[in-house]
């Protein structure tokens, strides 16, 4: 059987989650590998959440927020963007492929874009293969 990655995704309540919901209510089909966690804002996504997701066995982590300038809380998504850059550099140092962490902007009307993003990221994770973070940890 083909490898099925687990992708933990954090979606902001105001744009991205509604966007994903739109994909659902419009009956669009997208990869089931995305596990959605709703947060109030992408600025709420602490680096700890992402690291824990990897540790618990996620093969990829996707963070989605409102487009720049559209944040419900004015600048939560910018804070997320800054943390994302720092975090990406950190996970690379820890031996995790940088493509395993993604940040994308999805607005409430972009159901189609969300469905495509989910498919595309799943495809990319299948190509990268399992992250095996947990296994390496247990071996050591």
């Amino acid at each position: 059987m083909q490898f099925q990655p687990t992708i933990v995704s954090f979606l902001c309540n105001w744009c991205s989650y509604t966007g994903a919901d739109l994909a659902g209510t419009s009956r669009m089909k997208y990869a089931h590998n995305i596990r959605i966690i709703r947060v109030m804002c992408s600025g709420r996504v602490e680096p700890t959440f992402v690291l824990r997701a990897f540790k618990e066995g996620a093969d990829g982590v996707l963070i989605c927020g409102c487009h720049p300038g559209d944040c419900h809380y004015h600048e939560g998504n910018y804070k997320c963007l800054r943390r994302f850059h720092l975090l990406k550099k950190y996970i690379q140092q820890m031996g995790i492929h940088p493509d395993r962490l993604r940040l994308e902007w999805i607005s409430a009307s972009e159901g189609k874009q969300f469905a495509e993003l989910a498919d595309e990221m799943t495809e990319a994770m299948i190509k990268l293969g399992p992250a095996k973070i947990n296994e390496v940890m247990q071996f050591a």
Partner: protein
């Protein structure tokens, strides 16, 4: 009382000596029966003690090899209270940075490629070796460095690199005076606030960082918050208790006292804090500013890598 060093630099043991004449107060109240830096007690003597015979063991150093692990287990068995003393036993400390490599890479570097090594026969240490006189043993070198609590149950943590001597005396007196001890697993000899709460440098509510400097790249004015000057200081994510010693000495905090209460991963918390301070909303500029943080893993997890969520590099 016993004091032991595992994978440590010896600084923790010296910090105990730093109590100076208070050492007499200590020896008045407790017999130090095992302390490799100062006494010649053998492991076998410790093994011969009845279980729970030692009242307090200050265990410093991380767990690097099977000898460290053996002694951690032995001292746990023989002690009523086991204290993880210092950053290494608490979170892995500086030796924990070896978790960026594995055993194979470390051996390759140390016994082969380092500039001062000549080893054409590629000799590596063997845990056991047969000689005419008998079988010789060396401790097994682990792949991973671990903090003490990953190996045995720890009663208290006394953080610091090394812990400040005054704090040690306070804790020691609390134990010997029979005062009520805090709940098991708690951090003693440190405060619940962060470094920033105790720091006397001038700070404003909003910190804006346009450019990161490494400490040698900037002339510190001696009074403004390091972060506001663009120098990474781990104060916001680090427990107070050391008396802001480094900052008073005009060096930014490096985080040896570990995370403040309820924080599981100090480095992640610090990345979170730094994220809010970067003064730009432009993706490219943000990326450029972040590039100036040369070594995020080593900077934010200098003392805490083995105790963090991703406790080692994935190799």
């Amino acid at each position: 009382m016993a004091i032991y060093w595992a994978s440590a630099c010896g600084g923790c043991c010296v910090s105990v000596l730093d109590v100076h004449e208070s050492l007499f107060t200590v020896t008045e109240r407790a017999d130090i029966i095992f302390w490799p830096i100062a006494l010649d007690t053998k492991y076998a003597d410790v093994k011969a003690l009845p279980n729970g015979y030692i009242d307090v063991t200050l265990f410093n150093g991380a767990i690097r090899n099977s000898e460290n692990e053996y002694m951690a287990m032995l001292l746990r068995e023989k002690s009523k209270i086991l204290v993880a003393y210092g950053s290494c036993a608490h979170m892995g400390g500086i030796p924990g940075l070896a978790n960026f490599f594995n055993r194979k890479e470390i051996f390759e570097r140390v016994y082969q490629t380092s500039e001062s090594t000549v080893n054409p026969e590629k000799i590596r240490p063997q845990p056991s070796f047969q000689v005419p006189e008998g079988n010789l043993h060396l401790p097994v070198f682990f792949n991973d460095v671990k903090p003490l609590d990953k190996v045995v149950c720890v009663d208290y943590y006394l953080p610091g690199c090394p812990p400040q001597t005054e704090r040690l005396i306070e804790v020691f007196l609390a134990i010997t005076n029979g005062s009520e001890l805090p709940g098991k697993k708690s951090v003693v000899g440190a405060r619940d606030k962060t470094q920033c709460d105790e720091c006397e440098r001038k700070k404003t509510e909003n910190k804006h960082i346009k450019k990161f400097y490494r400490p040698f790249e900037i002339q510190d004015d001696g009074e403004t918050c390091f972060l506001e000057q663009g120098v990474i200081c781990l104060g916001p994510a680090t427990r107070a208790g050391c008396g802001v010693r480094c900052i008073k000495g005009n060096a930014p905090c490096r985080g040896c006292y570990g995370p403040s209460p309820d924080v599981t991963d100090p480095g992640a918390k610090m990345m979170s804090a730094i994220g809010t301070m970067i003064d730009s909303n432009d993706p490219e500029e943000i990326s450029e500013i972040v590039e100036q943080v040369v070594d995020p893993a080593g900077t934010f997890y200098r003392f805490s890598l083995p105790g963090s969520i991703l406790r080692r590099k994935i190799i």
